[in-house]
């Protein structure tokens, strides 16, 4: 038998949507994590509730590279519909597990195949109620897999105990099936593939979290008081996590609430309510994705202009339009930047990991209230809904910043003399009061129309320009308060890479490969906010060759950097691909290498090379390019 390959491969499980395989898959993920092995789990699911094929991919990597990988060394096929496709997807020399009730031809000889008597084993166990059989059946492949690659059964038990919150009955029912599967495999299967796991210590002091839950909990530590939302994939679980965790984390003796979460009738209402709440002094947020974001445009412009602090989470999915609700993207950057008619500059935060979702969860409120402006936090489906290994959440390292707000006593000191839009401090940020303030001089009139420093309606040209210039000054001030970029240097780096968000894992892996396999050393800057801080400027200035890597078609960050740093325009090159799949080290690496080859300006961005990249990654995604079909075909 070939030499073992340890802790360095990917497992993909193909099941039917709605068949409850997620418990089984997260159990495997958690068990591996418990064994101290770096892992990641990604769910590739359809925009459907039940019946269509869905896949879950677990990457195991001893060096801690957990980005999506095109190759699948181990594939588990539980779904007849995707059986052929799943079989085809196994890497030569890999392992193919499948439920033996799927009677379909095994068309490959270059992979090891293992048939599992799933139904039979489950039926054998009398303790399992018949209507639970399908569900529990998934545990058979957990057991078989555990046995064949060496997952520690104790780790699996711990995972199940956690999952079922210690409830013995389901724990036993499932664990017994795992054991049954393992034992059956032990006696009936002969290990012919080289893939094994072995315990490590690389996950100590790490946690497993999805970005949406992290964002919700972060918001709670930020003191969120009002959240209005409307359901939309992949953002729903953020608001739902607020509903889950608020009662625990903000529990009080008197059982009363310090917050309100409102499910609005749509996104116009969701942001409208949020604007109302933010205006009246609450830490207010809403969360949505593409289509909902587009509907928020008018209010986004008003919040910018009327200077209302709100936080908007945009968990990006791929668009335009309804697009693919269950595929990821970084496609909303330029839209949000210019969101709203007229001259608008929006503040954006760009978290790059689950723990950063937590951090920005609370920081977003500080920034919004300090700047008296809407703050958009752009996460994405991959970061928001998948399980990520990350640092534990850090308790906020500073007190809340409520910004320049005047209450009764402040107004008494001022003898009631203040002006809502007066730039007293020269930073573009004026002082505000909020409803409920009972001081007779506290009130003012808020409007989306032109106004003077006293909030009075004005059509005077200089008054308008004066106010707009202050808003621009305020945006400059924001550079001092938004998160600085994360910068990773390599001695002797010849190129600089600029990226943001969930591509971090892929980029780190690609940088490693570029250095090892191609001798190409790189520095890496991960932008964490717009407006860009001085660190970004310095990084751009100090590199002659810069690649801006992102998951969209048009190279949106590249466009914003070009506008901000025209003097550097020529050295900024765009590596952009938007096809709904999480970034992989391969396309980052190939994109950079191709760009390095033909050092023609922007060549990468627009045309053929990029399209090639698409085809390649396409191919690597094991699905043929579509070929024109007759209309008739369309009807079948």
């Amino acid at each position: 038998m070939v030499n073992k390959i340890i802790n360095d491969f990917s497992i993909t499980v193909g099941t039917v949507n709605g068949s409850g395989s997620s418990t089984a898959n997260t159990t495997i993920l958690r068990a591996l994590f418990k064994m101290g092995i770096p892992v990641s789990g990604k769910n590739l699911f359809p925009s459907n509730i039940q019946g269509l094929p869905t896949w879950y991919t677990i990457r195991v990597n001893k060096d801690g590279f957990i980005a999506r990988r095109e190759e699948q060394e181990i594939v588990v096929a539980m779904n007849p519909t995707s059986f052929a496709r799943d079989l085809a997807s196994v890497r030569p020399g890999g392992a193919f597990f499948y439920a033996d009730d799927i009677k379909q031809p095994i068309t490959r000889t270059d992979v090891m195949t293992y048939a599992m008597p799933v139904k039979a084993l489950v039926r054998k166990d009398q303790t399992i109620p018949s209507d639970f059989r399908d569900l529990v059946g998934n545990m058979v492949y957990v057991g078989a897999l555990a046995q064949m690659i060496g997952i520690d059964l104790d780790a699996i038990k711990k995972a199940l105990e956690f999952h079922f919150k210690g409830k013995q009955k389901p724990i036993d029912m499932n664990f017994n099936t795992v054991v049954a599967g393992a034992e059956w495999a032990k006696t009936n299967l002969e290990k012919k593939d080289p893939y094994f796991v072995e315990p490590m210590n690389k996950t100590t002091d790490l946690i497993m979290a999805d970005g949406n839950t992290a964002a919700a909990i972060g918001s709670i530590y930020g003191g969120v008081q009002f959240a209005a939302w409307y359901p939309i994939t992949p953002a729903s679980s953020l608001a739902e996590a607020l509903n889950d965790y608020l009662p625990q984390l903000r529990k009080r003796e008197d059982g009363k609430h310090t917050y309100a979460v409102v499910q609005a009738e749509d996104e116009l209402a969701a942001i409208g309510m949020t604007v109302g709440a933010g205006w009246s002094g609450l830490r207010a947020m809403t969360s949505t994705s593409g289509p909902g974001l587009s509907l928020m445009t008018e209010f986004a412009g008003m919040a910018y202009f009327a200077e209302v602090p709100i936080v908007v989470w945009d968990v990006q999915r791929i668009g335009p339009s309804t697009g693919l609700p269950t595929r990821t993207s970084q496609g909303d950057l330029t839209f949000v930047n210019f969101m709203g008619h007229g001259d608008t500059q929006q503040i954006m935060l760009l978290p790059g990991s689950a723990d950063e979702c937590f951090e920005f969860g609370w920081r977003a409120f500080d920034i919004a209230e300090h700047m008296q402006a809407p703050v958009f936090v752009l996460s994405d489906l991959d970061m928001g809904m998948n399980q990520w290994m990350c640092k534990p959440f850090q308790y906020p390292d500073r007190p809340m910043d409520r910004g320049k707000i005047l209450w009764e006593k402040d107004l008494d000191e001022l003898k009631g003399s203040w002006a809502r839009y007066l730039d007293k401090d020269g930073d573009g940020i004026a002082y505000r009061t909020v409803p409920g303030n009972r001081h007779p001089m506290s009130s003012y009139f808020t409007r989306g129309t032109g106004h003077d420093e006293n909030a009075r309606y004005s059509e005077e040209a200089p008054v308008w320009a004066h106010n707009m210039d202050r808003l621009k000054r305020k945006f400059e001030t924001a550079k001092k308060f938004v998160p600085a970029p994360a910068i990773y240097k390599t001695k002797g780096a010849t190129i600089g890479i600029i990226a943001y968000g969930s591509t971090e894992a892929a980029i780190n892996e690609a940088r490693f490969q570029l250095e090892i396999e191609h001798g190409l050393k790189s520095d890496y800057l991960r932008v964490r906010a717009v407006p860009f801080t001085d660190e970004v400027k310095k990084f751009v200035e100090s590199h002659d060759q810069l690649y801006v890597v992102e998951m969209n078609r048009d190279g949106q960050l590249h466009q914003l950097l070009t506008i901000e740093y025209p003097e550097a325009a020529q050295k900024l090159k765009s590596i952009a691909l938007g096809d709904g799949m999480p970034a992989s080290a391969r396309w980052v690496r190939e994109g950079i290498l191709e760009a390095e080859k033909k050092n023609v300006k922007k060549s990468v961005k627009v045309s053929s090379p990029k399209k090639k990249a698409v085809k390649k990654s396409a191919a690597s995604r094991k699905s043929a390019k579509p070929s024109p079909k007759s209309k008739k075909g369309a009807k079948k």
Partner: protein, 351 residues
């Protein structure tokens, strides 16, 4: 308080809140002379003064339109939010969570509410937000120069606009369909009734829909038009008079009403609205009666005014949410940020 305040001087008459009527006024109106909206603004001023309302405990909301400009013309001492066209309900819904002691007063138009605002209008009623929601209803878009709004009668003919081909929206029928807890209609040309209904609505806890026919003298005032003074004067059929009495002991409404009987509805704040029943034993707590009366009025093209429906039992939105007694927007880090030790428990859950 500072001497810079526009407070009542020594020998100016003041109300129980210690304020003069001036303290309830706003900026001079920039609306057309004779616009129905103006008389409504002045009735708001009077009603608030007579009810001893503390201006700082009221927040004004509006959308966009001539009507939506009105909040600048009353209660200068109250906060105001002139929001977006058709979006007053959502902004008010969010803002009213900040301090549940605050009462919202919203002024919208028929275009702002029944055209672009239909969705939010319907949903704020479902939620029973605690605000007085006034629709200054003139059947046209005044501020954009007189196009038909959604409440314009079918077949109405306006010089510049031609004939309106669509069925009109009946604000009160919509309110009933959406289970609004207070539904009333009046006519800007009847200031006395407007004021009484304003008081009743202010005393109601929950959403109070007040549809006030408010003629646009500039763009919709021909004799034949539903929303014009002329029309109102002929066709108006007052449903019952209302006169307001300051808080007393509650009296609950019994079932059937007899001709001419005097009937009182007790509001959540304990104050009382006295109904003088003019016609066929009308009972404003009977939703079915309300539907019947409106349907009949629609068929006969009547302008039915008065307190059409009231339900004093449903909790207002912020009550449903069981909020702490301190206004939310006065809570501080101590109340809002979980204690440091909790973070480890949280991290333990992340697996």
């Amino acid at each position: 308080m500072t001497e810079t305040l526009p407070m009542a001087g020594a020998n100016i008459q003041v109300n129980l809140a210690g304020l003069s009527k001036n303290d309830y006024r706003g900026n001079p109106s920039t609306l057309c002379q004779g616009c129905g909206h103006n008389s409504i603004s002045s009735q708001i001023v009077s009603a608030m003064y007579e009810m001893d309302v503390v201006p700082e405990s009221v927040v004004k909301f509006s959308g966009i339109g001539c009507s939506s400009k009105s909040p600048t013309y009353f209660l200068n001492r109250s906060f105001g939010f002139n929001s977006l066209h058709g979006r007053m309900p959502s902004v008010a819904t969010g803002a009213l969570f900040a301090d549940h002691a605050i009462k919202g007063i919203g002024v919208s138009g028929d275009g702002d509410t029944a055209s672009i605002g239909m969705g939010q209008f319907k949903h704020i009623m479902r939620r029973n937000a605690n605000m007085l929601y006034i629709i200054e209803n003139n059947g046209v878009y005044g501020l954009t120069k007189g196009q038909f709004s959604a409440t314009a009668e079918e077949g109405l003919n306006l010089k510049k606009q031609g004939t309106n081909p669509y069925m009109p929206v009946d604000i009160c029928m919509e309110a009933l369909a959406s289970n609004a807890t207070f539904v009333a209609r009046s006519f800007a040309g009847d200031p006395k009734q407007v004021k009484e209904l304003l008081k009743a609505a202010m005393a109601h806890r929950g959403i109070a829909i007040l549809d006030i026919i408010s003629p646009c003298v500039t763009f919709n005032n021909q004799e034949n038009a539903y929303h014009s003074y002329a029309w109102g004067k002929d066709h108006e059929e007052p449903l019952h008079e209302i006169s307001y009495v300051a808080p007393r002991n509650e009296i609950i409404l019994e079932e059937a009403m007899k001709e001419g009987e005097v009937r009182e509805v007790t509001m959540h704040d304990g104050s009382i609205v006295i109904l003088k029943n003019l016609d066929k034993g009308y009972d404003p707590t009977n939703r079915f009666e309300a539907l019947r009366a409106l349907e009949e009025a629609q068929r006969n093209n009547w302008l039915l005014t008065g307190l059409i429906y009231v339900d004093t039992d449903k909790p207002a939105l912020t009550d449903i949410y069981n909020l702490v007694d301190t206004p939310l927007n006065r809570l501080t880090e101590v109340d809002l940020r979980p204690a440091p030790e909790t973070i480890n428990k949280v991290n333990a859950l992340m697996f």
